[in-house]
Amino acid sequence: MPWDRNQMAARAAQELRDGYYVNLGIGIPTLVANNIPAGMEVTLQSENGMLGIGPFPYEDEVDPDLINAGKQTISELPSSSYFGSEQSFAMIRGGHIDLTVLGAMEVSEKGDIANWMIPGKMVKGMGGAMDLVAGVKKIIVVMEHNSKGGDPKFIPECTLPLTGKNVVDMIITDLAVFHRPDHASPFRLIELAPGVGAEDVRAKTTAHYEG
C-alpha cells in the first residue's frame, strides 16, 4: 500500500537529527514539522526572515507582522529570532541550513530538480527555491511517484525548466525512497512502501537507479 501524504512526511522526518536547522517547502514538506521525533531539537527556518517557527497561532494571537514564507500566519517560540531577507539567504546560500524538504514536478536520475515553472502556463516565479537547492547541505524531495496522468516524475532527464542541477540527495515518493551518498553517485532504491514491490517501482520509473 503506497504511503499517504503524512506517511511520506514521516519518512522524511526520519532524516532529521538532533540540533538540525531545517527549511520546509510548501505542501507535503510542511507536514514534516508534525513528525519531528519527541525529544529531538529541530529548528525551522522561514526564508522571509525567521528562525524558530512555532505552530499556527490561536485566533486571538494572529499577527499580520508574523508570517511564514507561504504567507500564512504563524507563531513564535521562546528561541525565535528575526532578521532581514539578506541575512536569511546568507544563511541558506552559505550552507548553514542542514536540510531542506521540497516538493517537485520532476527529478532526474542526475539529481536535477524542476519545481518552479511550466512553460505556457502562468509563471509565478521561483521564490527561494533556487537558493535552497543551491545552498542547503542536504536536499530531500518529497513527491508523488507518478503524475495524476500516470507519468513518471523520477526520469532520465527533466523536461521542465530546472530549479537546480545535480542537487538532490534523496527522493521520497508514495512508493519508495531513493538515495545517493554524494553528487557523483547514482541514486539507489533503499526502501519500499509496505506492500509495494521493487518491480512495481521499476515499472513506474523511467530514471536509471541502482538496487
Binding site: G49, D65, K71, T163, G164
Partner: protein
C-alpha cells in the same frame, strides 16, 4: 536637519520621475510601505521599474500601481496571487525579470554596499544563468549577478527615532532592510516616531544614515494573505 514630513506625498516631493527605478520593501503584504505606494499612485508617475520580492495582490500593495498601469517592469522572485498582474504580463504589457529570492536580496544589499557584482551558485544550470558570466572557484561553477542600485527606496518600519534610526517588527523586516540601502535616497514610513534616545543603540536595524525622509503612516490596517490558525484544545 528635519527628516520628518507631514505626509507621504510631501515625503516624496521632488523625488519622483517617469521611468525611474524604485526598490520597495515587504514580503507579500507583510511590511509593505502602504502610504508611500498610495502617494506614488496619486502622483501619477509612470513607466516605473519596481524591484520588489512580490507584486502585491489585486488592488493591495504594488497591485495598486499595476492597476493604474504605472509600472512598466517588475524585478521579483514571486508574483502569484495577482490577477491583474497575470493579465498584463500575458498581454505583454508588463515586463518581468524573475530573480531568485536570495539573489534578489543579495543584489540589493550589494548595490547598497558598493558591490557591482558577485558570484553565486544559485541558478547555475537553470534559465536564470542564461547570458550570465560563469566562473569556477575551487572547482565549482558560479554565475555573476549584478548589484542593484535604484533611484529611490521605499520601506516600512515599526518605530523610528527623530534622527531616523529605525527598527522593524518580527517578519515585517524582510526585504525592507536590504532595499533601504539600495536607493540613492530612502524614504521610510513607520508606525511610530519616538524621541531620540528611546531606542536601544545596540538594536537599531537600519541606522539613521540610510533614512533621509520619513513619515508617520499609522494607523495601519494590515492585510493578511492567508489567515491560518489552530484551535485551543478543550480544557
Amino acid at each position: 536637519m528635519k527628516k520628518i514630513y507631514p505626509d507621504a506625498g510631501a515625503a516624496l516631493d521632488g523625488l519622483l520621475a517617469d521611468g525611474m527605478t524604485i526598490c520597495a520593501g515587504g514580503f507579500g503584504l507583510c511590511g509593505i510601505p502602504e502610504r508611500l505606494i498610495d502617494a506614488i499612485r496619486d502622483s501619477g508617475v509612470t513607466g516605473l521599474t519596481v524591484v520588489s520580492n512580490n507584486a502585491g495582490i489585486d488592488n493591495e500593495g504594488l497591485g495598486k500601481l499595476l492597476r493604474t498601469r504605472q509600472i512598466r517592469k517588475m524585478i521579483s522572485s514571486y508574483v502569484g496571487e495577482n490577477k491583474e498582474f497575470e493579465r498584463q504580463y500575458l498581454a505583454g504589457e508588463l515586463e518581468v525579470e524573475f530573480c531568485p529570492q536570495g539573489t534578489l536580496a543579495e543584489r540589493c544589499r550589494a548595490g547598497g554596499a558598493g558591490i557591482p557584482g558577485f558570484y553565486t551558485k544559485t541558478g547555475v544550470g537553470t534559465q536564470v544563468a542564461e547570458g550570465k558570466e560563469h566562473k569556477a572557484f575551487d572547482g565549482e561553477t558560479y554565475i555573476l549577478e549584478r548589484g542593484i542600485r535604484a533611484d529611490l527606496s521605499i520601506v516600512k518600519g515599526w518605530k523610528a527615532d527623530e534622527s531616523g534610526n529605525l527598527v522593524f517588527r518580527k517578519t515585517a523586516r524582510n526585504f525592507n532592510q536590504p532595499m533601504a540601502t539600495a536607493g540613492r535616497i530612502c524614504v521610510a514610513e513607520v508606525q511610530e516616531i519616538v524621541p531620540v534616545g528611546s531606542l536601544d543603540p545596540d538594536c537599531i536595524h537600519l541606522p539613521s544614515i540610510y533614512v533621509k525622509r520619513m513619515v508617520l503612516g499609522a494607523p495601519y490596517d494590515k492585510k493578511i494573505e492567508f489567515r491560518t490558525t489552530r484551535q485551543r484544545e478543550a480544557a
